[in-house]
């Protein structure tokens, strides 16, 4: 048992080092993202960043449990590393928004549409869209394009959004389990401070009904992830989980109501004038269904699939309960 604990802590330290490497990669990408966003205004940025905002929230609200069983026979402690991946569909990698505008801002006096209302269409690759394609801003008069300007390219061509997080849990009394997700604040050059923390609490009614044929847990989780001054995201979830143990295999499932949002701050270069842009956008996903399995071999390995607006796959390495 002592060797298992020592080995588990060493593996956890190695995985945390890998997570720090992922954060360093995030730092470089954030710098490039700021450079891209400075060429577009808020309306374009909202559509462009939509899969980032939703994907961050979906990832944070994943892997909140690997079993519904919460022991209530004394203090229990566990450590875990969870890795998440939310898949992007082709439709998620492009966006198109339409707004009504005064065409006087886009055509010359005397041209068709001057002084009239028309539509302004922003479309193109999102932040995770295909490489080599540039978005456009097009003004339409009666559905006919009368003005067009190039916008920005994608940041990176991704088919999935990854995330990794360490967590620690304490439980064993009154059917309660508290979980914390946290990484030390990291001062990234040119980006600012990266901060990540989350707190969750779950409870099992099995403590009142020990003869239940399955384990049940209800819980809630709240998290925040800030990347410098550019992005501040929050995510919260309320869930109901059910699990059943079959020897070393635990099968679990659950449903959740969730929300997420992201505050975005950057400076828009409006023909030489620096315009501060600040807006908040909510993630799209509000519900999910989870199905997973955990293998207990001294340490635990789990994998789950989450279905909602995005399909998310999460895996974990758990030491403890």
């Amino acid at each position: 048992m002592k060797n298992w604990r020592t080995g588990g802590l060493l593996i956890a330290a190695l995985l945390l080092t890998m997570a720090a490497g992922a954060v360093a990669q995030t730092e470089e990408s954030t710098d490039e993202l700021s450079d891209l966003l400075q060429d577009v205004g808020e309306d374009y940025a909202r559509g462009y960043l939509s899969p980032l905002i939703s994907g961050f929230g979906i990832n944070q609200n994943s892997g909140l449990y690997h079993t519904a069983r919460i022991p209530y026979d004394g203090l229990k402690i566990s450590f875990a590393i969870k890795g998440m991946s939310s898949n992007l569909s082709d439709a998620d990698k492009r966006f198109r928004t339409v707004s009504t505008v005064d065409l006087s801002d886009y055509v010359d006096p005397g041209d068709p549409g001057y002084g009239e209302e028309g539509q302004l269409v922003f479309e193109g690759p999102t932040v995770f869209g295909a490489e080599g394609e540039t978005g456009t801003m097009t003004a339409y008069w009666h559905g006919i394009p009368v003005f067009q300007e190039n916008a920005i390219e994608s940041l990176v061509d991704f088919d999935y959004i990854p995330m990794i997080t360490p967590e620690a849990s304490v439980g064993g009394f009154f059917g309660l389990r508290g979980t914390i997700r946290w990484m030390p604040d990291y001062d990234a050059p040119d980006v600012g401070t990266i901060k990540y923390k989350g707190l969750g609490l779950s409870w099992t009614p099995n403590i009142l009904m020990p003869t239940l044929p399955v384990d049940v847990a209800i819980g809630m989780f709240k998290q925040s992830l800030d990347i410098g001054e550019l992005l501040e995201s929050t995510a919260s979830s309320v869930y109901l989980a059910v699990s059943k143990e079959f020897s070393v295999l635990t099968v679990y499932g659950g449903v959740a109501k969730e929300s997420s949002s992201m505050k975005v701050h950057y400076t828009f270069d409006d023909n030489g004038d620096d315009v501060p842009i600040d807006f908040e956008l909510a993630g799209v996903q509000e519900k999910r269904t989870t199905l997973g399995a955990t293998l207990s071999l001294g340490l635990k390995l789990n994998i789950e699939v989450n279905k909602g607006n995005m399909t998310n796959y999460t895996g974990g390495l758990i030491f403890g309960f």
């Binding site: 559509g47 939509s50 899969p51 939703s54 994907g55 569909s89 439709a91 998620d92 990698k93 492009r94 966006f95 198109r96 928004t97 339409v98 041209d111 068709p112 539509q119 269409v121 479309e123 999102t126 097009t138 339409y140 008069w141 009666h142 559905g143 006919i144 394009p145 009368v146 003005f147 067009q148 009904m209 003869t211 239940l212 044929p213 049940v216 309320v238 869930y239 109901l240 059910v242 659950g254 449903v255 959740a256 109501k257 993630g283 799209v284 996903q285 509000e286 519900k287 999910r288 269904t289 279905k307 909602g308 607006n309 995005m310």
Partner: protein, 196 residues
């Protein structure tokens, strides 16, 4: 006691199922990125029809050339094919061909493709179909017995334009064209395709 346990567990399973459905219902699988469309009005389609009418009138007047691969220079530019079977003459764009028009007032390119057959005899009549593409705008149209004068200018007949949920009917006269959508009508200026 065993039967009581069975009833309790069954009720619990039912309550859990209701709770799970109530908590999550059916998860949405809508994309996370916005994908909005321009909502067109009848007047929008009338203006679009004006462009098609002007463009196709210019193209029909270019059908006087007799080459197999025909080049058009103005106001539309590009290439299309001509196939004379002795009775009728077919004019069409290949998959990699389109005629480009850049209206001076707009400054943005409009692309026209078509497959039109001119019947023999006098007056000649054009029948066929085509499409217009510009930005996100994509319109299809059908020529129905469009009669041509000696210079191939349209003087009678109809073009039906389909755009969004609207169908516009354009009727030619000598030097004139009107577009009708439902009970509304507009006049097309055949010098530039503008609508009033």
């Amino acid at each position: 006691m065993k039967r009581q346990d069975t009833i309790i567990w069954s009720l619990l399973a039912i309550l859990l199922s209701i709770a799970m459905f109530g908590l999550a219902g059916c998860s949405s699988d809508d994309p996370v990125s916005p994908n909005e469309e321009i909502e067109l009005t009848a007047e929008d389609v009338a203006h679009q029809s004006g462009l098609i009418t002007y463009a196709m009138a210019e193209v029909l007047q270019n059908f006087t050339k007799a080459e197999t691969t025909v080049q058009m220079f103005t106001p539309l530019t590009g290439f299309y094919q001509r196939n004379d079977d002795g009775a009728d003459v077919r004019y069409y764009t290949l998959a990699d061909q389109e005629l480009i028009w850049t209206p001076a007032a707009f400054g943005e390119e409009i692309a026209i493709t078509f497959d039109v057959t001119l019947s023999g005899g006098t007056p000649k009549a054009a029948n066929g179909s085509g499409a217009l593409h510009a930005g996100t705008l994509a319109i299809t149209f059908d020529l129905d017995e469009v009669q041509l004068d000696v210079n191939h200018a349209p003087v009678a007949g109809t073009i039906i334009v389909s755009s969004g949920r609207f169908a516009a009917s354009i009727t030619f006269g000598v030097g004139t064209a009107t577009v009708q959508i439902g009970t509304e009508t507009w006049t097309i200026d055949m010098t530039d395709g503008s609508v009033s």
